[in-house]
């Protein structure tokens, strides 16, 4: 039981990170990004492939993260250029299509679930400390710390730095922001690049434990969306909390033999419950803001 909860916490940090990436993409560039985990997975697979070819891990890591950033920036600039005037729904649909495309390309390049699982480097598997007779691996601390860093670091960046304030202005009034001279396309693409890099790191963090095949990892976007919904696609601290809870919930489900094999359903259940819960108020509160 405690073991599963510790495992849940590790996933929790990662889920929080994925959720944060979704929330930030939505807040800053107004796109619900279904392709995010796919992009990160692509970066991560490029890294392990390079390692398989004998490249030392630090170089492979840098190339992988840069690849994730570039792919994301490419998607971002495509959306800015061709879909800048379209509504959020259209942009989300475009990212769904990209998610499918990236999945197909990944399958082609890196093989399927059974054949394509890679051995991802397990840097943080050594124990950090033991709790009773339960070993807490470093990965728990690393993923939680990373998630906390993003939550509060980005929060501070938005509130305190001039780039952060410009991003806020852009997210509140996109056209007026440009009227006062804020270079919207450039900022948006920078946000996409940053999100792509962080997603790659996050996928690398979780890959060793999830088996390391392309479709499982890129499919993590469902969990990410569920977590983002906990934060209403807006609040970073709530998203952090949502991620951790989601991890614990899954760890708990894994610890009970009868429901263990259904634990993949957890994110969908969370989405459904949140949709139902939120829709009760919808009638009174249709004005929605980012």
């Amino acid at each position: 039981m405690l073991n599963s909860l510790v495992a849940g916490l590790t996933s929790g940090g990662v889920y929080a990170l994925l959720g944060l990436c979704v929330v930030l993409t939505y807040r800053l560039v107004a796109v619900v990004n279904f392709a995010m985990a796919g992009v990160g997975t692509m970066g991560a697979f490029i890294m392990v492939s390079l390692m398989d070819l004998g490249l030392p891990w630090p170089i492979a890591l840098v190339i992988g993260v840069v690849a994730g950033s570039l792919l994301s920036a490419l998607i971002g600039s495509g959306l800015v250029r061709w879909f800048g005037e379209h509504d959020e729904r259209t942009k989300a649909a475009v990212t769904v299509a990209l998610f499918v495309a990236i999945g197909a390309i990944g399958l082609r390049l890196f093989g399927s679930t059974s054949t394509g699982a890679r051995r991802f480097p397990t840097v943080f598997d050594s124990p950090a400390f033991t709790l009773g007779d339960v070993v807490v691996p470093q990965s728990v601390l690393v993923s939680l710390a990373f998630a906390a860093l993003i939550t509060f670091g980005v929060g501070l960046m938005l509130a305190r730095t001039s780039v952060g304030l410009r991003l806020q202005a852009l997210s509140e009034r996109p056209s007026t922001a440009q009227v006062v001279g804020i270079p919207a396309p450039r900022l948006a693409i920078a946000v996409w690049a940053a999100i792509g890099g962080v997603s790659t790191l996050v996928i690398l963090l979780v890959a060793p434990r999830l088996g390391g095949d392309f479709s499982t990892l890129s499919g993590l976007v469902t969990t990410a969306l569920a977590v983002a919904m906990v934060g209403s696609f807006r609040s970073l601290p709530l998203t952090l909390l949502g991620g951790v809870l989601m991890g614990l919930l899954e760890g708990f489900a894994a610890s009970l033999d009868e429901i263990q094999k259904y634990r993949g359903v957890v994110p969908f259940l969370v989405i459904l419950v949140l949709l139902w819960w939120r829709s009760r108020n919808e009638v009174w509160d249709t004005a929605h803001s980012r």
């Binding site: 304030l165 806020q168 509140e172 007026t176 922001a177 006062v180 001279g181 919207a184 396309p185």
Partner: protein, 246 residues
């Protein structure tokens, strides 16, 4: 094109796919107020959106200080020296007064200069802009345009929904801007108030220029203004069209 800050030549502008402004030619000299008048729906806002890049220019040229800008994206026009005070007081509501100015600052722009013009903003510098009164918000939007170090500021109906005393205060501020050497292109529902501080005026009807001349020529002449607004068709809407007269 000698000496004009802004010069439009045969400019047509769409809203979506609908042509709204047709073949407008217009010039603004440095350090002057140029007034744009016209009835509701005449295309005044569309004209300004086209100049600022928010609405597509389908033909003609727009020159800012002699350089063509009609192909520039919105933010590049701003960086080139075009300030735009949009209709409806578009402050960044979640940012403070100070932050609103900070994100708009460029070139020689200086917050102190804005606070000098509007001391009430200095007092509220750390207040979220959404909490400001309508008049203060309008001052902030003007200040935001000023701090971007513009050569010209387009101003669209800043008096909308504000008390006359506040409107007069804002008009004074516009005169101060002109004193700083900034040109102003001014849309104003209170025609005579605008004509008082303006040098030249243009009247739009159905997206076309129907009058172009010095403000003196039409100031106080409600009848003529009304004719320009609606065509020759005397009704008692004259007072409305002429605006308040003092």
């Amino acid at each position: 094109m000698s000496g004009e800050v802004l010069s439009l030549k045969d400019v047509s502008i769409n809203r979506g796919d609908t042509p709204i402004v047709h073949d407008v030619s217009l010039t603004v000299a440095p350090g002057t107020v140029t007034v744009v008048l016209g009835a509701n729906g005449a295309g005044k806002t569309t004209l300004m959106d086209g100049i600022a890049g928010l609405a597509p220019v389908t033909s003609g040229t727009i020159q800012l200080d002699g350089a063509p800008i009609e192909k520039f994206p919105v933010y590049k026009r701003s960086q080139a020296g075009l300030g735009y005070v949009e209709q409806a007081r578009t402050v960044f509501r979640t940012l403070t007064v100070e932050q609103n100015l900070l994100v708009s600052r460029s070139g020689k722009g200086d917050a102190e200069k804005v606070y000098e013009l509007f001391p009430e903003l200095k007092k509220r510098r750390s207040l979220q802009a959404g909490h400001l009164s309508g008049g203060e918000q309008q001052m902030l939007v003007l200040g935001r345009a000023l701090i971007s170090d513009p050569k010209i500021i387009l101003i669209d109906e800043m008096s909308l929904g504000l008390a006359p005393v506040v409107v007069r205060r804002l008009m004074h501020a516009v005169k101060d801007l002109v004193g700083l050497g900034i040109a102003v292109l001014l849309i104003e529902q209170f025609a005579n108030l605008a004509l008082e501080i303006g040098a030249n005026a243009y009247v739009l009807r159905k997206g076309r220029v129907v009058f172009d001349g010095p403000c003196d020529e039409i100031r106080g002449d409600s009848e003529r203004l009304h004719e320009f607004y609606f065509g020759a068709m005397p009704t008692d809407a004259v007072v409305e069209a002429g605006g308040e007269n003092q």
